[in-house]
Amino acid sequence: MQPFVSHTGIAAPLLTDDINTDQIAPILHSRSLKEDYKAMLFHRARRRRDGSEDPDFVLNKPQFRAAGILVTGHNFGAGSSRESAVWSMLANDIRVIVAKSFADIYRENCLQNGLLPVVLGGHDADAFIARVVAVDGATPFTVDLVTQRISGPGGPDIAFEIAAAERTRLIEGLDDIGLTLKHMDDIARWERQAAVAQPWLQQATDSRR
């Protein structure tokens, strides 16, 4: 996984709640397994009904085309578990999402890929959003995971919380499977115990065969 330490970039405000993964990464009926994640990001939201680009969509505005930080509302990433909704962010060099809250599966998918999910509570979120809107892409913000602070124009640094272990995993770019593989003895022990306690769990046999 690519590590995340710090990112300095333009912050784009997409201030709606409940943005779902169908919006973030719509199914585009690619015939290839190698999908174009860059083009996928908000593919429909970026376009008007006639297929032309919608100049009003935030990521289409000149000052936000190179945004690296997406700022949004509650329950970001609701719906489908598709990880393409994270890969399409990274393919567009978006490395941080600052939200009032995240959908559970989406947040996990972020952590798995080095896309930093930052949750800001009520007052901090509103203050940060006001600054992002005011600066309108003219000056970047820095999101630093080492110091757990957001700094930039329009006010003092804003501290954010993240579980210490998740922070370490992101900063060091740790392989999640690798972390669990250290516990294969525990897992083998569990399997032996389950085979005694609930033997039907450890065998999935088709009785017709």
């Binding site: 709640d17 169908d22 499977i177 569990w190 609930q198 039907w200 009785s207």
Partner: protein, 469 residues
């Protein structure tokens, strides 16, 4: 200390704890589908890692398969590469695949319980957000992304933070032609699309106990639409009777032993939940969505709400939904002309769903100009429906009768509506563009969908059937 059923299943399956504090929760059954699995197979190959328990891992082709009779790998051209990569990955890793032509092919969430792969008190994972469907038999299931799918393949555990617990008590008795779909939509309307975020939800109460197992699956299926991490119903005698004799359940004396254990699977009387919610279902009418998320729902006799009538936090979304759906506040839902009706998906494609719809359709015709489809949730459901003559009922009424798969739920197989069409759908998400660009989806039960196909407009099934009497 008294424990909830969630606690009991979680604690039993906790194989260890990682240095980062996450619990390693053993996954008893892991079911893959072709839209996401190929990424994980490629990752394992790159990392030279092997599948730890191919014998506990199964795979289906469901998201991209065509529904046309006589379909093959190429019928949906945007599915071909996915279907073939799935076949190859399963062969290379020794995983049993229910392939496109297998008699047990179907939607993972329909196939796994109907074959008896998932069991009460077992854990289950699918790289799909509707994994909790199988909570209907008392299994604890988690949807996951592709990285987590690879993680489970290699280790057979998920590294999870323990969710909070929530109990939804459904009291009362459902009225005629009101079912689990209506209950779930009403719950989501009340709690909101993030109302159960971070929670494992136990559905309890008299209305749940009275539900057939398939209806409990519908209820649990929609748990993710209020943001729930998992959702389930404690198993009971109806569950054991439903599972009995299915191909993958334990046999002979092991079955007896399993049932004896499963009878202990309930929350302790004085167990505390982090959150409790109650809904009286007695006065519930059929429900229908009017907007672009599954919380934007009213009763079938209701109207598109005025923004002032909504909580302030829901007004902006409502305004955007009015525009997308082409609806004005105050418009009655019943009577809105529809172009398309879809009956299917992991939410409502099991045999009782099709029986309910067929009972409405029997002896009637789909209204002129309406495209109506039924797509059974599995090839087994399809065979059983055909044995009961349901396919004839649907076909004679003018419905398309398809091969099983996810079909129009997400449109990944090319089954989609045309721009601007209004579609009554038994699926789970009325998101913008989900059933095709600019398609306007109204979520409803199979009974309401069937009645709407006949009426040519959004219809109250109770009135349609009363009119016939």
């Amino acid at each position: 200390m008294p424990r909830t059923l969630f606690d009991k299943i979680w604690d039993f399956h906790r194989a260890g704890q990682r240095s980062d504090g996450r619990d390693l929760v053993y996954i008893d059954r892991h079911v893959l589908h072709e839209l996401h699995a190929h990424h994980a197979f490629a990752q394992l190959q790159r990392q030279a890692r092997a599948v730890h328990r191919p014998d506990l891992t199964f795979a289906v082709q469901d998201h991209t398969v065509a529904t046309q009779p006589g379909r093959d790998d190429g019928t949906n051209p945007s599915g071909t590469a996915f279907i073939r990569a799935m076949r190859e990955g399963c062969r290379d890793n020794g995983i049993r695949l229910f392939d496109i032509d297998d008699p047990e092919q179907g939607i993972s969430h329909v196939v796994a319980p109907e074959l008896g792969m998932v069991l009460p008190g077992a854990t289950h994972a699918v790289p799909d957000s509707h994994a909790a469907t199988v909570g209907g038999v008392g299994a604890l299931a988690f949807g996951c992304g592709t990285s987590e799918l690879a993680h489970i393949l290699v280790t057979q555990v998920m590294a999870l933070r323990r969710p909070k617990t929530m109990r939804v008590r459904l009291d009362g008795r459902l009225g005629a032609h009101v079912n689990a779909k209506d209950v779930a939509l009403r719950l989501i309307a009340g709690l909101g699309v993030a109302g159960a975020r971070g929670h494992a939800v136990e559905y309890a109460g008299a209305a749940v106990r009275a539900m057939p197992i398939e209806a409990r699956m519908t209820l649990c299926n929609l748990n993710i639409e209020m943001g729930g991490r998992s959702g389930f119903v404690a198993p009971d005698e109806a569950t054991f009777a439903w599972l009995s004799g299915r191909p993958f359940v334990p046999q002979d004396t092991l079955w007896d032993r399993a049932v004896a254990y499963w009878r202990t699977l309930k929350s302790d009387d004085d167990a505390a939940f982090d959150r409790e919610v109650t809904l009286d279902c007695s006065a519930l009418e059929p429900q229908i969505s009017w907007g672009t998320d599954p919380s934007q729902v009213v009763g079938i006799s209701g109207r598109v709400p005025a923004p002032d009538a909504l909580e302030p936090s829901r007004r902006a979304a409502a305004q955007s939904a009015f525009a997308y759906m082409g609806l004005e506040p105050g418009t009655p839902l019943a009577g809105l002309p529809v172009d398309r009706v879809f009956i299917g998906s992991c939410t409502n494609s099991r045999l009782p769903d099709l029986q309910v719809a067929a009972a409405v359709v029997r002896g009637r015709r789909v209204a002129a100009g309406v495209v109506a489809m039924v797509v059974p949730g599995s090839s087994r459901v399809k065979r059983e429906a055909e044995a009961a003559g349901l396919d004839r009922v649907f076909r004679e009424a003018g419905f398309f009768w398809g091969e099983s798969g996810c079909s129009m739920c997400a449109g990944g197989n090319g089954d989609r509506g045309r721009p601007g069409e209004r579609c009554v759908s038994t699926t789970n998400r009325n998101f913008e563009n989900r059933q095709g660009p600019q398609v306007r989806t109204h979520l409803a039960s199979p009974a309401t969908a069937a009645a709407s196909a006949i009426a040519g407009c959004i219809a109250d099934v109770r009135q349609l059937l009363a009119g016939a009497a």
